[in-house]
Symmetry: C2
């Protein structure tokens, strides 16, 4: 049920589709590159599988493909960016660049973003800072699927946090994590296979523990990292809340239950308190703290010590955050990106609609 | 088995003990206030119960009560502080003040600290920023008790993250969380009561799941937030690692398995790559992003929406991070701080030794 495509083929197709819906050529390439980075890194749920979703947002006039993205407030180390309802895939690269430019001058740069849309995967933008010998920090809020500890209601998105550190000879450390027990993409896999979910991933509409992966369609919720109170779900809830506040309360975007949904067919929340969805970007120059060469040396030592830790029986090795994604990327650049049949059908549909050859 | 003391009495006693071990008067008050903030906020494991531990660190010449704390590297928004082996309870307030002062000028301030010792609770320092209409961020590393996902070895401390946001009419949002499933203090309670721990808190020396709270004394380990791989322990591991790197790799402190232990009787690790333990402090001026009054308005709205969420059956309400600690503080300021008999004995021992009346 899978078909494999080269990265170049999918990138070129995606770029053309973005052009067809009105993106200037430069933005189309930027957006396609950001989107495809998810497929390369193995985060299939956030990659080209969502292309049709972005197109539908544009059709519903909820995404602006010719946005006038601009800074609406700033200091030497901070800025708030208004994304003008642009694709997150275009607003996010702009905003991370502002953070990097601020860091060049002030040591660190911090950008909170309002009036944006979904941006794909956080890790891609954090690595932009790493390329400049900076620490990269990325957050975004998302539409509410997660119930805070003790809540029946869904009030938070899966709100990821990414922090990436450059190293020396070792590849960078890249932690990119949803603040839930399990990502929604994993649930979708169980749904397709009609398998049960482990306890601690979801609750039903009354807040009872459930193992039915279809529960979310019936008023259920994803659970914060930790799963239940006894295992620290109040910490996962707090982390998701922190992401929400940095991304949206600080920028003037929508937060909590008012974050607009990604699927264009879903109606917008009532009485929204802000504009669009929110992101947060940070860039920190290593040499604003210590000599970069020295830092890299110690990062290598850190990484090697952890990677060489004695593994528990039945496990091959201890991983460094970013290892799995980097390894998948190497394989997919060489052997291609496998897409599910349903995703290929969506792309073919888009190809016919916009007269673009897949 | 408990005895209750007024806050003022414990503060005055602690201040005098710090003076007796050589702290200048100002530092003694600073350290005592920081330490007692843990007792006030209900984090009993990190408060006056540890006073004897700090004294022993001084006796072992591992804590310097007359440190020359100084900035060794800086930019307009960043600094690295050398704590000169001072008490963390003195080094941390100094460093958070540097972050706040930087934020006044540059919008944000970021301080990584080397050559320090344990600092009590993170929340106390984050609230110093909140008092100045700033977001406060605090991290610290700690001696290794936590096994990364799939590791038999203990390589990380409980490495807490605190983020505090000011609000308007509502009290501040204060998330202060160890990056483990359960704090070590909770395990100590189970040890005293000879009760089993829930699965997901600890592993034994071979990395098997264990419910024996004494496992840590026999080569076992605390588990990262998430508990096991299926429930996202790789995320808790990543968060603990991020804290370690910000606090120590960025500053030149010791990291991972090389972080010195708090108990003075434990020997120091071999071939330590840095100086002392490390902390990390951030302060972000709200009005570097948007008008502070506007932010406060939306924080209040955020807090009220979450606090009024429909609770699951059997639970009274959904909490906001910081609610429990603030409520305990109000009670303890009025009714006093209960101390376990063993803690009172330690304090009496110190009182006799240094001729200070408890």
């Amino acid at each position: 049920m899978e078909q494999t495509f080269t990265y170049e083929r999918l990138l070129s197709f995606t770029e053309k589709i973005f052009q067809k819906i009105g993106c200037p050529a430069k933005d189309a390439l930027t957006a396609a590159t950001a989107l495809l980075s998810a497929d390369l890194r193995g985060v299939d749920s956030h990659g080209v599988a969502r292309l049709i979703g972005y197109v539908r947002l544009w059709e519903a006039k909820r995404a602006n493909t010719k946005p006038a993205i601009r800074i609406i407030h700033e200091t030497i180390s901070t800025a708030v960016v208004d994304g003008d309802s642009g694709l997150g895939l275009v607003v996010a690269p702009y905003s991370m660049q502002v953070a990097i430019d601020k860091a060049k001058v002030a040591g660190t740069g911090w950008v909170s973003v309002q009036h944006s849309n979904h941006f794909g995967i956080a890790g891609y933008y954090a690595l932009k800072a790493v390329e400049q010998d900076m620490i990269g920090i990325v957050m975004t809020n998302a539409s509410p699927l997660v119930a805070p500890t003790f809540s029946v209601e869904r009030l938070l998105g899966t709100n990821p946090i990414c922090v990436a550190f450059p190293a020396g000879e070792e590849p960078p450390f890249v932690a990119d994590l949803a603040t839930t027990t399990a990502a929604n993409g994993k649930l979708e896999i169980l749904q397709r296979k009609s398998q049960q979910a482990p306890a601690g991933w979801i609750q039903d509409k009354k807040g009872n523990i459930s193992t039915n992966p279809h529960e979310l369609k019936d008023g259920g919720a994803l659970l914060p990292l930790g799963g239940d109170r006894e295992h620290g779900s109040h910490k996962g809830y707090a982390l998701g809340a922190i992401v929400d506040i940095f991304s949206a309360v600080l920028s003037g975007a929508n937060y909590g239950p008012w974050v607009p949904p990604f699927p264009a067919f879903m109606s917008m929340p009532d009485e929204m308190p802000g504009k669009g969805i929110g992101h947060f970007f940070g860039a920190m120059r290593i040499d604003a703290f210590r000599e970069a060469a020295e830092f890299r040396l110690h990062m290598d030592k850190w990484i090697r010590r952890f990677r060489s830790a004695e593994p528990i029986q039945g496990q091959e090795r201890v991983l460094i955050p970013g290892d799995p994604e980097r390894e998948i990327q190497a394989i997919r650049l060489e052997k291609g990106i496998p897409l599910l049949h349903a995703v290929v059908e969506d792309l073919e549909f888009l190809g016919e609609k916009f007269d673009v050859v897949l």
